[in-house]
Amino acid sequence: MTLLRGRGIAAVNYPTGMNLGGDPSQALIHSTPTGAFMITLSSTDLGQGLRTVMAQIGAETLGVPLETVHVDTADSDTGPHCMGTFASRATHRVGNAIIQAANEAKEALLDVAADELEAAPEDLEADGAGNIRVAGSPDRTISIMDVALAAHFKHGRTISGRGMYVKPKSEVEPETGAMDPDSTEAHACTVAEVEVDTETGQVRVLSLKSAYEVGRAINPALVQGQITGGSWMGMSHALYETTAPYYPEIDHSPDDFSHYLMPGAAELPEISSTVLEMPSANGPFGMKGVGEMTANSPIPAIANAITDAIGVQITELPITPEKVLRALEERET
């Protein structure tokens, strides 16, 4: 038995959002009588943390404490239209809509606060801790709860905002393929190290070291969650998964997780990463979509590492022990 080591790299781009048919999303924001802010959407949280990130964008824009901002997702009766959560679009589209809605709501908030403080709205600022104050006059301050109460019961004003973002439809020019298919591009580069057992054909991934440029990490732990999940998913695509083990034949298709194998915790390599932030021109706070991309760079990086280890390029996924052994046989002959 020989253990052969190899290293491979892969660099990828990933587009944020889509354009076909137009790509809109909306957000509505209103304050409760006691100054909490409700963001209503019809977007869905797939487990990636959309709700948390949307609350952060709303709180940042309004200048209010995060815990006073709540996100209500996905009821078609109450939430305004969203195309859905896919195409690495949600944070970009919905985040931009929330910024617009929050700016409108904040204008109403400052108008009412101005009346209460007997100041001009343009002289007011939120302190991020639940108060509105006159800039430069620390004693002239009012809590957002008091502003909201006054708006509801004294002024008869709503503190609310509407937000909309749309990437307009871009027709594809049929002859040349000219089009504007996305809003911005995130990037990733992965360095994979593998060890190949020449007797069993087994590939062990030793490490995945990656850099990701995401524009702006709105919530670093959630970006990390995408990175870890995506690295695992990419590794699984590279080495384990298929619904057609004898492709293109369709027999022996798996029907549960005991036949559809994926790497478990024991198979996970060392995963380390660097996150770069080079703000995009049109993403909320400069963000770019990171969700889908993280699964892409590990696949060719692992494949290239295997080539580096055994000297033969295996170009069909998944790279199973059987394919490795056949490639090694081919190398011998």
Partner: protein
């Protein structure tokens, strides 16, 4: 849009709001949703990949205790549709319930509604199908050969893009540039069909309301997209539907298909009772969409110093029996098929091909995963053949701000150079000073 950041709410880690619910098991997912008098729906599926339907016999199924109703193609107001009709994609081709022909193993032919899930399974198993098997095709290239079994109802096995048999990119003159190149370097790359494998299987509960509307609790990734498509299939006014969801146990693109909601909603309207239709793990594995089994051929014209002067890509995207989101995925693939590299002459043909496989559809990285896999293996193949350093080859060709992409969009927000440099540093790879000095903002240090 706005990168001013007056406060410090963004850019900082805040605990994910659902995290405690998910890890303690208190989050309510679709299969947890239940109502009094709720029925269960199960599909009767084709055991073969291609067949003519000669008959469907429910007589034994109807005798199963708890049997409530059955549905066939004749019950579906607009049974033949295409999911992207909302953005003008034609023609209609997917059958909500198969009529006349089945085109893949697991295609639903009928649905059975029963008092309990067990009764629904039992009744579905007792539906007798009379199928006359037909020759089937499973390989993308075989499907395009003359004489191949035809999957579609219009007589060819490919999707038509504005009169073209494939989605194309034409930038510069790739064949001419290849003729002038020192070398031609080619590769064939094949992806596997894979499952989205969400922890939570696809499902919904449709509940008729007293005012004549139907509330559909669903784990779709796209609430209004699913609502609108359900209204189209059932030919009812969209305002009669209310879709509720928003918390999904993993999607990865698989829950952008609109599969369970139309049948459950129709069954709810027919029976006047709430109806649950949730996939089993076996259905999730064998019936729900997969990633396409894409095959790519890449042919590059390369100079001896490693400069790539042309790139020609031919991709066969296996849509399976119905196209679902594949026409869009092929366009996204075409845009990205030459990679994040500046190459002066590019030609791309992406064939969206019908076969008798389980339909493929959107999946994480849709169209781009396939391109990135092939491209990055091809870049290494070029590096080996010309004796170039794989880091240098990528950094030299990485697109810069201001570069035009093959689909004629000017690059802004480029950062591939910096990303590659950062990965090298993290991995302890010493790049030369020339490579370290490169930037996405200029072509400094790039030969040629």
């Amino acid at each position: 849009m706005n990168d001013a950041k007056p406060f410090d709410v963004i850019g900082r880690t805040h605990e994910r709001r659902e995290a405690r619910g998910h890890v303690t098991g208190s989050t309510v997912f679709i299969d947890d949703v239940s109502f009094p008098r709720m029925c269960h729906l199960k599909a009767v599926r084709s055991p073969v990949p291609h067949a003519r339907i000669r008959g469907i016999d429910f007589s034994e199924a109807e005798r199963v205790p708890g049997f409530v109703a059955h549905l066939t193609a004749e019950d579906i107001p607009k049974n033949v549709y295409t999911i992207l009709c909302l953005i003008g994609v034609e023609p209609d081709e997917e059958h909500v319930l198969a009529s006349e022909r089945v085109r893949y193993v697991g295609e639903p032919i009928a649905a059975v509604v029963a008092e309990t899930e067990d009764a629904a399974f039992e009744a579905a198993a007792k539906v007798r199908l009379n199928l006359e098997e037909l020759p089937a095709v499973f390989d993308v290239e075989e499907a395009l050969e003359p004489g191949a079994p035809i999957v579609t109802h219009w007589g060819t096995n490919h999707f038509v893009y504005e009169g073209h048999h494939c989605r194309r990119i034409r930038y510069g003159d790739a064949p001419a540039a290849r003729e002038e190149a020192d070398r031609v370097i080619s590769g064939r790359y094949q992806l596997s069909p894979i499952e989205h494998a969400p922890v939570e299987p696809t499902g919904c509960v449709a509940k008729p309301e007293a005012d004549g509307r139907v509330t559909v609790h669903t784990n779709t990734q796209a609430i209004f997209f699913s609502l609108d498509n359900t209204a189209i299939i059932l030919q009812i006014a969209p305002h009669r539907l209310r879709f509720v969801g928003g918390t999904v146990g993993g999607g990865f693109g698989g829950k952008v298909d609109v599969i369970v909601e139309p049948l459950a909603t129709l069954a709810a309207l027919r029976t006047g009772r709430p109806v649950k239709y949730v996939y089993t793990r076996q259905e999730e594995m064998q019936v729900s969409s997969t990633r396409s089994a894409s095959r790519l051929y890449m042919t590059d014209g390369v100079m001896d110093d490693g400069t790539i002067v042309s790139r020609e890509v031919t991709t066969y995207h296996d849509a399976g029996a119905y196209s679902r989101h594949s026409p869009y995925g092929c366009t996204k693939h075409a845009a990205n098929a030459a990679g994040p590299y500046t190459i002066p002459n590019v030609s791309v043909d992406v064939h969206c091909v019908y076969t008798n496989r389980t339909p493929s559809s959107a999946m994480r990285g849709f169209g781009v995963t396939e391109a990135s896999f092939a491209l990055e293996m091809q870049m290494d193949r070029i590096a080996r053949e010309v004796g170039a350093d794989p880091w240098e080859l990528r950094l030299r060709h990485a697109y810069r701000n201001g570069d035009e992409r093959p689909y004629r969009k000017t690059t802004e927000d480029a950062s591939l150079v910096e990303t590659i440099q950062a990965a090298a540093e993290l991995a302890g790879v010493e790049l030369s000073a020339d490579l370290r000095a490169m930037s996405s903002d200029d072509r400094e240090g790039v030969p040629g």
